[in-house]
Assembly symmetry: C2
């Protein structure tokens, strides 16, 4: 290599890569993983199919990158709410609510991240991120138990249950094109999450 890459060159290369990832994310959100072929993604990005391989060694690598970017963002958001102010129960309810609202506002992507059929590499990422969600929930639950605000329970089991419960409750609305009762759904979902963790809804008990 006679020449080093100039900063401008690096920027341009990375921007092309970023552009590709961004468009690929859109395609996945629209048509799902199984329909997001290399040619479809390349078309959406305005490049030739072969050019994809200038940026990623394989289609799986691109898919993993797409998944990871989007999922990491959701983890960050959920984590910041769960680690934010308030009692453990309040944070749990807020976290579930925020997660669900974000999913319902970006249904295609949420469905792709949560449930859409995907190649093995993406499936492995999905599993890894579900473990992260479990860990985040488990921390809050353990904290609540330590404070006596939550009854004795296996925090890992409850955390896994919450992860699955939130996903399953969201999958049906995500599949439907539009849904009216978003607010009611969120209220029911957060109430369910609190019950699941053993935190009785303080105010709304008749």
């Amino acid at each position: 290599m006679a020449y080093r890459k100039t900063p401008a060159e690096i920027r341009r290369l990375e921007s092309a890569r970023e552009h590709l990832v961004a468009r690929a994310t859109e395609v996945v959100a629209e048509v799902g993983w199984s329909q997001a072929s290399v040619t479809a993604v390349a078309d959406a990005a305005g490049i030739a199919a072969g050019s994809v391989y200038q940026h990623f060694a394989s289609k799986a690598a691109l898919a993993v990158e797409v998944f990871r970017r989007a999922a990491e963002h959701e983890v960050d958001v959920l984590g910041s709410v769960l680690h934010g102010p308030g009692s453990p129960a309040e944070r749990l309810a807020a976290g579930v609510g925020v997660f669900a609202r974000r999913a319902l506002e970006n249904r295609g992507l949420a469905y792709a991240l949560l449930a859409a059929p995907a190649e093995p590499a993406v499936g492995a990422e999905r599993l890894a991120f579900r473990r992260i969600y479990r860990t985040l929930f488990a921390e809050v639950i353990e904290e609540g138990m330590a404070q006596g605000a939550l009854p004795p329970q296996n925090g890992e089991v409850t955390a896994a249950a919450l992860t699955g419960a939130v996903g399953e409750v969201l999958v049906a609305p995500l599949g439907a094109p539009e849904e009216d009762g978003t607010d009611e759904l969120l209220a029911e979902l957060t109430a369910m999450a609190l019950r699941c963790a053993g935190a009785a809804p303080s105010s709304t008990r008749p």
Copy 2:
């Protein structure tokens, strides 16, 4: 199941088609849907790949049949427990417990039914069966609410949550080759299910 097999049924059970479905189920339980190619299934059944198409119009049709047989059995078992004797909460706990125990006793098949990556036709079946689970759970929850044994809640949301929660809690153990704390897991799972439905077993209320 207390009936005697008729000669016709014996013939049916021994027919090549049944044999094929049974062996295909084993293959799927062992290696998952994605590795269960037509040739692999045909090999397991001791027939040629081409002969599969004497019994099923497509690979997807065979896969759907495999899924449906196994899933219907689980639905029947769960339904009979949920519609059996006992209070709604007792039946809910018993149903979750039976479902989980059966899954842990037949991990490969349970994983295939619950979570393993699968072709779209199987994914659609999976969705349909999750709707059935939701309906079964929802009936019990509505009944419990009508009796005043369960607090007011959206039964459909709780039912979906239970469906997802049970599946997610089981997926990790199903993936692991062996697990010791089966009994503790079942106890925690049923306790979680009761909390989720608002049937707190004499737990501390803040």
